[in-house]
């Protein structure tokens, strides 16, 4: 179901507390609904942005709401795809296929390293 895209970090459960190491790891959740062109391009765009700008300090968890519809309510998800920056706090939400890199970086609060 979920598109098979190279994931640079494991997708295990999020840690309860943020680690104290200086450049904080960015923990991201990408909410999608099945393997759609939009889901796929969002994940591709996200991976690309992370590789280029986050230098390995990130983890991505893909959540398919078709498999786990309850999470749509529990996590207040409305639009899809939605990218949620879980850590560092505060939580930020970015919607869309993440095709606009500049806006994704702004949304994630990341300075462009290019």
């Amino acid at each position: 179901m979920v598109p098979k895209v190279r994931m640079s970090a494991q997708t295990k459960k999020l840690p309860g507390k943020q680690r104290s190491s200086a450049p904080a790891t960015v923990v991201l959740s990408l909410y999608i609904a099945g393997d759609t062109p939009k889901s796929r391009s969002a994940l591709n765009n996200l991976n690309k942005i992370c590789v280029e700008h986050l230098n390995g300090r990130y983890r991505i968890k893909v959540i398919d709401l078709l498999k786990n519809p309850k999470l749509a309510r529990d996590h207040q998800i409305l639009a899809l795809p939605t990218l949620v920056r879980q850590l560092p706090q505060p939580i930020r939400k970015i919607i869309g296929d993440l095709s606009n890199t500049e806006r994704v970086l702004v949304g994630l609060g990341i300075e462009s390293t290019k």
Binding site: P69, A72, T82, L98, R103
Partner: protein
């Protein structure tokens, strides 16, 4: 375009299911008092209805009552998607209408999902859809087998997302999705400038549109409801006043659609034997409406008092709606003509509802009277006087309220006595309020100064269904009460 598609998809299936060639649009009763009469049965079943109006017009309450009544009375569980208020706030707000939302949620009859849409929290980067909303809605519907859905208010989405093109496409898809799921839905929208809704939701809803209005006239609030459109159904087209009371919304048709209250042939005594005789039939018909009009001090309240006392003697309950005097004043004054009302009050055979007409708007008065009647179930109601209601609104508004009251009393089998004050110098056979054609029996009282005496007189202007007297009767009030003199006025004074 989507509509045509829908029709061609649904038609064949419908005609197979329905054996009869003429099938009326199936409807889902709302349970909202009065609305199902105006809409001849309720909202279009399995379709979406748009309820729009300005802020504070009662959209949320309307939608909530539709949902709660559906769950309680019609075995149709419902989902409430709130884009504005939290579930707790909603539960609190509808508690004022007597609905226990939390209990319904606990019993899996209602699901409330609060969807927060905050633009500042959301960054938009490219194409998206609202599949998350569909998933949440679908899950909520499936979790309780919902047949009804409310989206309140969908337009909040426009505040949350800037890409209006995507939003509109998604809203269109949502309406089609709701139709496919076969749920009866209400979508609310805020009234816009020159349009029914700010973001043109009416474009997508083709079956039924209801407009709620909330205006202030003479410093008093009046709520109105109008069915703008109801495809495939006959419906009332007027603006109907409605109120939000302690038992929910009640819409009151100005012109009663149903005139089918059963007429009683039972006669109840007026409490004045001589008047019973003048009426020709031994009193008033039960559940009829009696109007007593006359100038100041002509004995209107006294006549009403007799009727109440007589009803108490028959062990019937009376509700006395006093808009001019206090309870103790009325009890004292009645005592002076030999009527003992205090024991009736003590045994709860008589209740007073004393209220200054200006204390509330007409609608609230109507609502309170309605509640009192539902709660106390009286056989007799006295409204003393309807004239004092005129300080609250225009003649047409007061008239419409009285029409609604009369209908309400009749439907509940209540014999109602209303008094009307005629200002000195006015023609005797006026009421100040155009209700004389509504009432079944009309008595007029007058004072005349003839041959050095101030004499009271009563005449029966009309008594439907009775061969009543055409005489002007002398009307005497003494310590023993009211009495009509047997010899006609004409013989004595003319």
């Amino acid at each position: 375009m989507p509509r045509k598609k829908m029709l061609s998809r649904n038609r064949p299936r419908d005609s197979v299911r329905a054996a009869k060639p003429l099938r009326l649009l199936p409807k889902a009763a709302t349970g909202i008092q009065g609305l199902d009469e105006i809409t001849r049965g309720g909202l279009p079943k399995g379709r979406t209805t748009l309820v729009c109006g300005t802020a504070g017009c009662g959209k949320t309450m309307f939608a909530m009552e539709f949902l709660v009544r559906g769950a309680q009375q019609y075995g149709e569980p419902g989902v409430f998607i709130s884009f504005e208020e939290s579930a707790e706030d909603l539960a609190q707000n509808v508690a004022s209408m007597g609905f226990d939302l939390n209990a319904l949620i606990a019993r899996k009859k209602v699901v409330v999902d609060h969807i927060r849409v905050v633009k500042s929290e959301i960054e938009e980067t490219g194409s998206f859809d609202l599949e998350g909303l569909f998933i949440r809605l679908g899950l909520a519907i499936d979790s309780i087998g919902a047949k009804r859905v409310v989206l309140d208010t969908l337009e909040a989405l426009f505040g949350g997302f800037s890409n209006a093109a995507i939003l509109r496409a998604e809203i269109r898809r949502l309406f089609e999705w709701l139709k496919e799921r076969g749920v009866t839905a209400i979508v609310t929208g805020e009234r816009g400038d020159g349009a029914l809704t700010r973001h043109g939701l009416e474009e997508y809803v083709s079956d039924c549109v209801i407009l709620l209005d909330h205006r202030v006239v003479n410093q008093l609030t009046a709520r109105r409801l109008r069915i703008v459109k109801y495809r495939g159904s006959v419906h009332g087209t007027d603006e109907y006043p409605f109120l939000i009371g302690a038992t929910g919304i009640s819409v009151v048709p100005i012109t009663s659609i149903r005139l089918d209250h059963r007429a009683s042939s039972e006669v109840v005594s007026s409490g004045v034997p001589t008047l019973d005789k003048a009426l020709g039939g031994g009193g008033f018909y039960r559940s009829s409406t009696i109007l007593i009009s006359g100038g100041a001090g002509t004995g209107k309240s006294s006549l009403a008092g007799h009727f109440v006392a007589e009803a108490g003697g028959r062990r019937e309950r009376s509700l006395y709606i006093a808009l001019e005097e206090s309870q103790s004043e009325i009890v004292r004054n009645m005592k002076s003509i030999g009527l003992q009302l205090a024991p009736l009050v003590a045994t709860d055979m008589l209740r007073f509802h004393v209220s200054r007409p200006t204390a509330q708007g007409l609608e609230m008065h109507l609502a309170m009277i309605h509640e009192l009647v539902v709660d106390y179930r009286p056989q007799v109601v006295v409204v003393d006087s309807i004239t004092s209601l005129l300080s609250m609104g225009s003649i047409s508004e007061v008239t419409s309220m009285i029409v609604r009251l009369v209908d309400f009393f009749k439907m509940n089998g209540i014999t109602a006595v209303m008094t009307a004050l005629i200002p000195t110098g006015e023609e005797t056979e006026t009421t100040g309020v155009n209700v004389s054609s509504l009432v079944d029996t009309w008595l007029t009282l007058r004072n005349s100064e003839i041959k050095g005496v101030r004499a009271r007189a009563l005449s029966v202007v009309k008594a439907r269904g009775m061969g009543h007297s055409n005489q002007l009767h002398e009307f005497v009030m003494s310590k023993k009460g009211v009495e009509l003199k047997s010899d006609a006025w004409s013989r004595k004074y003319a």
